[in-house]
């Protein structure tokens, strides 16, 4: 039994290819993975990608999230041109990145910038799980850190929507270091009195969960989102115990005091507006 602790140890949760396929909707029609009902994609999009039948929150792309949240024509994107190098010279890595660039129209797994939410200006970073499972390598770490830094300089709040399987394996320890990098940027930001709202969406695991995602002045999550440090399978192998079905869901974390609120997507804009409004006069200590 003890030996098993060391075997095949995966530090962080991973999302299988299968789940990826089911989660990423393509084409005109789409099937809800939760209740199996088939919809016109347009119909779901009108409802912020929430299933009309069972309330399942489908993953949103970064673009869809920003469109759903920000006032029309107010979003200004930052650091669009940043893309991955291949520091470890990992075979096929750049090809994989390029493939996801084509698929998503994004250069990396996060979109950053600023815009207005019901008139309140805010910096924002939105991760996109379609791009290398939202994994954090150097570019994701750099873009998020720069966005935090820019928010500090411009005295803006920042909202980060996370969706990530964790650190990106192909950049090795440099990916790990992005956890420190983003957290260091947040320390500086927090010290200057900046407001940071962390908004976790499905999935938020591993290195992203164990760094900036957990460091919000407010930590929120979408219903049923998978959030955790280690992967379910590795925990089950380690403790030799079957885990409950709701383990590492947003509701589970909420129950254990790890989240301020679980927020239904239809309430997202309203609640964020209220928080931005309450913080209008604060946030300047430097």
């Amino acid at each position: 039994m003890l030996r098993d602790i060391f075997n095949k140890k995966r530090k962080y949760a991973t999302i299988s290819k299968q789940a990826e396929r089911e989660d990423v909707p393509e084409g005109l029609m789409m099937k809800c993975p939760s209740c199996r009902k088939i919809y016109y994609r347009k119909e779901l999009e009108k409802n912020n990608l929430i299933c009309l039948n069972c309330d399942h929150h489908h993953p949103m792309s970064a673009k869809e999230r920003i469109n759903a949240l920000m006032d029309a024509n107010t979003f200004e994107e930052w650091d669009v041109q940043l893309t991955s190098a291949n520091p470890l010279e990992f075979p096929d890595y750049i090809e994989k990145v390029e493939k996801d660039q084509k698929k998503t129209g994004m250069n990396e797994a996060v979109m950053t910038g600023k815009g207005k939410i019901n008139g309140y200006e805010s910096a924002i970073a939105v991760m996109d799980s379609r791009f290398r499972m939202g994994s954090m390598g150097s570019v994701v770490g750099e873009k998020i850190s720069r966005a935090i830094e820019k928010a500090r300089e411009e005295r803006l709040p920042i909202i980060i929507f996370t969706a990530s399987g964790g650190a990106r394996m192909q950049e090795g320890v440099l990916s790990l270091m992005q956890m420190s990098k983003t957290s260091v940027a947040l320390e500086r930001f927090s010290r200057s009195g900046g407001l940071f709202i962390s908004y976790m969406t499905h999935p938020t695991t591993g290195g992203v969960s164990a760094s900036f995602a957990s460091l919000g002045d407010y930590n929120f999550a979408e219903p049923k989102a998978l959030i955790g440090f280690a992967g379910r399978r590795i925990i089950e192998q380690t403790i030799r115990e079957k885990l409950p079905d709701d383990f590492q869901t947003a509701e589970f974390l909420y129950k254990h005091g790890q989240l301020d609120r679980v927020i239904h997507r239809s309430e997202m804009k309203k609640i964020l507006t209220t928080i931005l409004d309450i913080h209008q006069d604060g946030g300047d200590r430097s």
Partner: protein, 328 residues
């Protein structure tokens, strides 16, 4: 001795045993083997140099995990005086996978924190094989806040396979505990020196290793995932761990080259466990010079330097052909 021989050092050990045997024979009988023994000893010296100076990444992984490798408490005993261990996170319990306390280094008060493996099965169970729960990270942070309050430098020793992947750990916020340490360590106004002495396993290692200086012992490793885990993930075969160790760049020299660490602390030939006194001395020199250097900085300079250090880490490039995608 025999049971802890690593595969790559087998030839060295076998030759050493042969020499010992010859010496015994030579002592017991009339036969004079002095010449033969001398020749073999010379060969041993060559062989040792050849083997230990050409260690492959996988050899270093095994060295970092060596059962006799000195642990945090071993080094604490060598490097500090008046060490007093302090316990508990004040919320839940005392996690013995992390030790910490106050001590003196060359007469100067310091706070010391480090992962702690066990030396035998019994101790390993007590210390959870050096894999902390959230309370371990929270204890570490409590002690580091205290160090800041009393203006003591902080020295941390990193030696863990990773933060413990367990049910209770998740319930009590493993992610939050590590994340908070990363952020708070970035803002502590005292010098922080971090030294990887064995395995630097991912987020669990990172949780006590944000600071002004990060060093690695020559045969230690620091990685985003264990070689076994990487192999399972990338190639669906954990038996390819050796290959993963090579491609993941996890050795001290690799990390120096990637600009992630400040320096490599050389090990005594054959690994730190061969001569802990000499090894501790090498570590001592590095702590001394780092403390001296960092003590010249004001609090603000210290923080600015730390922020800049982390700002730089990473590897990105630009694509110019793609411009902003209109969003809304």
């Amino acid at each position: 001795m025999k049971k802890n021989v690593l595969p790559f050092e087998k030839p060295v050990v076998e030759l050493r045993e042969k020499i010992a045997e010859l010496k015994k024979i030579s002592g017991d009988s009339e036969v004079d083997l002095t010449e033969e023994i001398g020749r073999l000893e010379e060969r041993l010296e060559h062989l040792e140099r050849e083997v230990y100076e050409n260690m492959a990444p996988w050899d270093r992984v095994q060295m970092a995990r060596h059962a006799e490798r000195p642990t945090t408490l071993d080094y604490i005993e060598q490097l500090f005086t008046d060490f007093l261990e302090m316990h508990g996170d004040r919320y839940h319990s005392d996690d013995e996978a992390i030790v910490g306390g106050i001590a003196k280094f060359n007469g100067q008060p310091v706070t010391v924190v480090g992962h702690q493996r066990g030396k035998d099965t019994k101790e390993n169970i007590r210390r959870n094989f050096g894999m902390p729960h959230p309370e371990g990270y929270r204890k570490a942070l409590r002690l580091m806040y205290q160090a800041e309050k009393f203006d003591r430098p902080i020295i941390t020793f990193i030696d863990t396979k990773g933060a413990y992947p367990g049910k209770a750990a998740e319930e009590r916020g493993q992610s939050e505990a590590i994340a908070k340490n990363l952020r708070e360590m970035a803002g502590l106004t005292v010098p922080i020196i971090c030294i990887v002495i064995g395995e630097g396993g991912s987020g669990g290692a990172l949780g006590i290793s944000v600071g002004d200086k990060l060093f690695m012992l020559e045969n230690s490793t620091y990685s985003v995932i264990s070689p076994e885990g990487a192999a399972a993930l990338l190639w669906k075969d954990s038996n390819l761990a050796k290959k993963a160790a090579e491609s993941m760049k996890i050795t001290s020299y690799d990390l120096k080259e990637l600009g992630v660490i400040d320096g490599v602390i050389e090990e005594v030939q054959g690994g730190a466990h061969r001569d802990i006194d000499s090894q501790a001395n090498k570590i001592k020199e590095v702590i001394e010079s780092s403390l001296h250097e960092l003590s010249q900085l004001s609090e603000q300079e210290l923080l600015d330097q730390r922020w800049r250090k982390y700002e730089k880490i990473g590897s990105t490039t630009s694509v110019l052909e793609r411009t902003e995608t209109p969003v809304n």
